[in-house]
């Protein structure tokens, strides 16, 4: 079963990369937890193909991998939504910061030389 070995090694490699990114402080722990959870789920599914088939059967899905795609897509969409929320927040924070810096600089130019 070549595909089993392949999917298990991809899942493990993914987990290792995420942990390494956290260790090097390239990824915040806060965000990494989600990815660690994701790679563990990936690992479980790779080890246990019959689990996937069982879930598909319960949901009435005839083609088991379709369940995998469904959850994979849902995960991606919710993650992207989360990211755009983060970007919105960052944008407002950067704007507020820019405005305050601009005001401070203008006030310094006005009063700074007297102090």
């Amino acid at each position: 079963m070549f595909i089993n070995i392949l999917s298990v090694s991809i899942a493990i490699a993914f987990l290792v990369i995420v942990l390494e990114l956290v260790r090097r402080q390239r990824l915040r722990e806060q965000y990494s937890l989600l990815w660690i959870l994701f790679s563990i789920v990936l690992l479980i599914v790779s080890f246990n193909v019959s689990l996937m088939e069982w879930i598909a059967d319960q949901l009435g899905v005839k083609y088991a991998p379709a369940v995998l795609f469904l959850f994979g897509l849902l995960f991606c969409f919710s993650l992207i939504l989360h990211l755009t929320i983060v970007i919105t927040k960052l944008t407002s924070q950067v704007l507020r910061l820019t405005q305050e810096v601009a005001i401070l600089k203008a006030r310094e130019a006005l009063y700074g030389k007297n102090n």
Binding site: K89, S92, Q93, L95, R96, T98, Q99, E100, V101, A102, I103, K105, A106, L110
Partner: protein, 234 residues
């Protein structure tokens, strides 16, 4: 009464000088601040030479962000009245005393092109858009508005505070009215003359106007549904 005139300017070296000179002639007691929104021309130098204070943004933050900076400045320095006007010369300074005078009775005073018939004329599409927004805001706020897109406005202390904490980022005029009404502000319109811009071009191109209509309508509806909650950064 401490009055601040806020003029957001993005590459307006051709008109900013005469706009400032006009203001100084008609309301000499008011302070003038030009929000230079990352201009690449000589806007900053011309404005300074004309005797205005200049606040330069490190990069272009857009009209909403620039305007809000002016209100933040007004709040920080404790002004009683803040007036916003365009740098392209379409808002005549001789109308300023009329606007400022009404701030004693209203939280926000809008200089309107349409309260009485003035000499202002515009394209048909633009008129349709403006009528649509006026009807929309009138419906949502239950107050009759004729010129919701006017950027010629005088604000009292309450509005200065509200705008310093929240101001829409792009195409802010219409939404910012609904926001104020949701916070219980009183608003009035006074008839003002408006002129053709002296320099520069309108930022609204045909392609952008579609986005403009959709974006503004959407944010106005969202603002109307946001009961007394401000989108302040935590």
């Amino acid at each position: 009464m401490k009055t601040l005139i806020i003029i957001p300017a993005y590459n307006e070296e051709g008109s900013i000088g005469s706009v400032i000179a006009d203001i100084r002639r008609h309301v000499p007691e008011a302070d003038i601040i030009v929000i230079n929104d990352g201009s690449s021309d000589r806007t900053e130098e011309v404005a300074m030479a004309s005797g205005a204070r200049v606040l330069t943004m490190p990069y272009n933050v857009g009209i909403g962000g620039g305007m809000q900076t002016g209100y933040m400045y007004a709040k920080m320095l404790d002004y009683d009245v803040a007036v916003q006007m365009d740098a392209d010369g379409q808002h005549p300074a001789k109308e300023l005393p009329k606007l400022i005078g009404q701030t004693a009775r209203y939280d926000l005073v809008i200089g309107s092109r349409y309260v009485k018939s003035t000499s202002y004329r515009s394209s048909r599409m633009r008129r349709i858009g403006m009528i649509f927004f006026s009807k929309l805001v009138t419906l949502l706020t239950r107050q009759r508005f004729t010129d919701t897109t006017s950027g010629f406005r005088a604000a009292g202390r309450k509005v200065i505070g509200l705008y310093a904490s929240y101001y829409p980022i792009d195409y802010p005029e219409v939404e910012s009215l609904v926001y104020l009404k949701r916070h219980g502000c009183t608003i009035t319109e006074v008839s003002t003359e408006m002129q053709r811009r002296q320099a520069g071009r309108s930022s609204i191109t045909p392609a952008r106007s579609v986005y403009y209509m959709i974006k503004v309508t959407f944010s106005v509806l969202m603002s109307a549904m946001r009961y007394n909650r401000t989108a302040v950064i935590k």
